[in-house]
Subunit: 319 residues, 2 copies
């Protein structure tokens, strides 16, 4: 649950006065998003999301994130888009933090992902990748191989507090994955965090994707690998090939997956599992007592990583 | 911040199908209310609050609370009102908890209470008291003198962990207040928890009161005493007689305060301060580590209690 910064009624009214959005009629902190403070803002015109960027988001990255949302929305991707004030700017300060008003997206995220959800996610991801081609700003993926090393250095000494032997297992994985990480694959703008809670549906239809605050430039197939991990495992961590097939087929409808991308998928999925294992491990070991956000279990991603290590090839993903 | 129970998209759609509210288009947990889980529910008809009642609210009290909101709204008081399903019922089960959909009230609560807010609160409180006269259900105030004794028994042994001598000071207060507590004063339905975050404003005008989950039958002037504590002290705990005067004058416009009520006000305010001191002390000593709700400082209410102990009469409240 994320409301780290409380916004007062008076400062809010001053802030909103910079926009043509009418009068504020309500503003409620919402339990959504982990990195930032989010409010549901209602004016007599419409409903919006007000986001205050907290310290985990680098201020220098905000033009990339906000620019990307605007670019994608303009190219027909259902995603929130930053609202500009009368001065033409989308980003300003509120309660001592960078803040933006973003358009509100209808829909709910599926608590129980089914194959048809996976197919829709695949289609939307492919369309997002294509729409991202013409986006001019660049942002390196801070959470790729080099970033994993830094994260691991920060928690290696205490990894075995979570599970005996975990430190050694991660060290070995990191070495193998780094040695085999692809050098040449189609690259572009990726979402990099397209978990179910970032994808909204109205009935059976995908209504939009949110939370572009990990978006960056990387291999497009890495985004697919993230989705394989996020969408295609059951609560008991069993892999569901039907869902994976639906995801990959959906993606393939929007953008043809190349043979070399398919071939790289097991390693990319292993790398993506390691990425979430490491960030969760770091948060698990470093979350302050009494923090409002409950850390997620890192072991879920160790199991996923082991699955991808065990597969004989991309055929395991059902395509 | 309060979302104790997560509601899935499928169970929500089933739940909402019992009402004539159209299709759900969004449902977001909101950081509002401490006792219950609250969601902002949007359908293609309107915006609502979905409340799941958690264990701190007794199920047997819900007909009183929901019935009161409905009664008050019907009598012109700006407050949320329970929405009935097609079966005529406002209360049903969701995710294993009693749950209700409540109308949405526009407005924001004032972070910085000013005298004109206090005046509006006084007027609204008086109107609520009058409208409550015809409400037929009754609920005893579980947090009056007898309830304070029970609470104190549960934390007396550890009171001095918070401040040396606190246990003895409370014991003495409790004895004096109980001995002098009024026996005969105008009584009726009171809100009993009308803090600034339970009162919404649109601009300078009060737009409504929320959170009737402590409402009960007690002395009407006790509600005024709660508001004196909640609205008329500065952040440094200095009493602001201008605000108190505005509150009392506003109330007096709506309902004439009797001389015996004014005379009892210092003791009622002292009792009300003791009530919040005790519940805060209890929560302070008993909140689980890592709980999502940060306990409030009990010492704030010790200072308020001492102020009311020191006054020579109700003249101190500015009227």
């Amino acid at each position: 649950m994320a409301v780290y910064t409380e916004v007062g009624d008076e400062e809010l009214e001053k802030f909103v006065a910079a926009y043509d959005l009418g009068q504020v009629v309500a503003c409620k902190g919402i339990a959504e998003g982990v990195e930032n403070s989010n409010y549901l803002l209602q004016t007599d015109h419409s409903t919006y999301i007000l986001t205050l960027y907290e310290k985990r988001v680098a201020k220098a990255d905000l033009p990339f994130f906000l620019g990307l949302m605007e670019h994608l929305a303009r190219h027909g991707i259902a995603c929130p888009t930053p609202i500009k004030g009368r001065d033409g700017k989308a980003l300003r300060d509120l309660a001592g933090r960078p803040a933006a008003i973003i358009s509100f997206l209808q829909g709910m995220w599926p608590r129980r992902a089914l194959p048809h959800h996976c197919r829709e996610v695949g289609i939307a991801l492919a369309r997002m990748h294509l729409a991202g081609e013409s986006f001019e700003l660049k942002r390196a993926n801070a959470l790729s191989v080099a970033g994993w090393r830094t994260l691991f250095d920060g928690c290696r000494a205490r990894a075995d507090e979570v599970r005996k032997g975990l430190g050694d297992e991660i060290a070995k994985e990191l070495e193998i994955i780094a040695a085999h990480w692809p050098k040449e694959l189609p690259a572009g703008v990726i979402h990099a965090d397209l978990f179910p809670d970032n994808v909204f549906f109205l009935g059976d239809r995908l209504s939009g994707m949110i939370d572009f605050y990990f978006a960056c430039n990387d291999f497009l197939a890495y985004d697919l690998a993230v989705c394989l991990n996020a969408w295609c495992f059951e609560p008991d961590n069993a892999f569901n090939a039907t869902k994976a097939r639906a995801l990959l087929r959906g993606y393939n409808e929007g953008r043809k997956v190349l043979a070399e991308e398919m071939a790289a998928l097991p390693l990319l999925a292993r790398g993506s599992a390691l990425r979430f294992l490491l960030t969760r491990l770091y948060d698990w070991l470093n979350h302050p007592p009494g923090a409002f956000v409950k850390p997620k279990d890192p072991m879920e991603y160790l199991k996923k990583l082991r699955f991808h290590r065990s597969v004989k090839g991309a055929g395991a993903y059902g395509l």
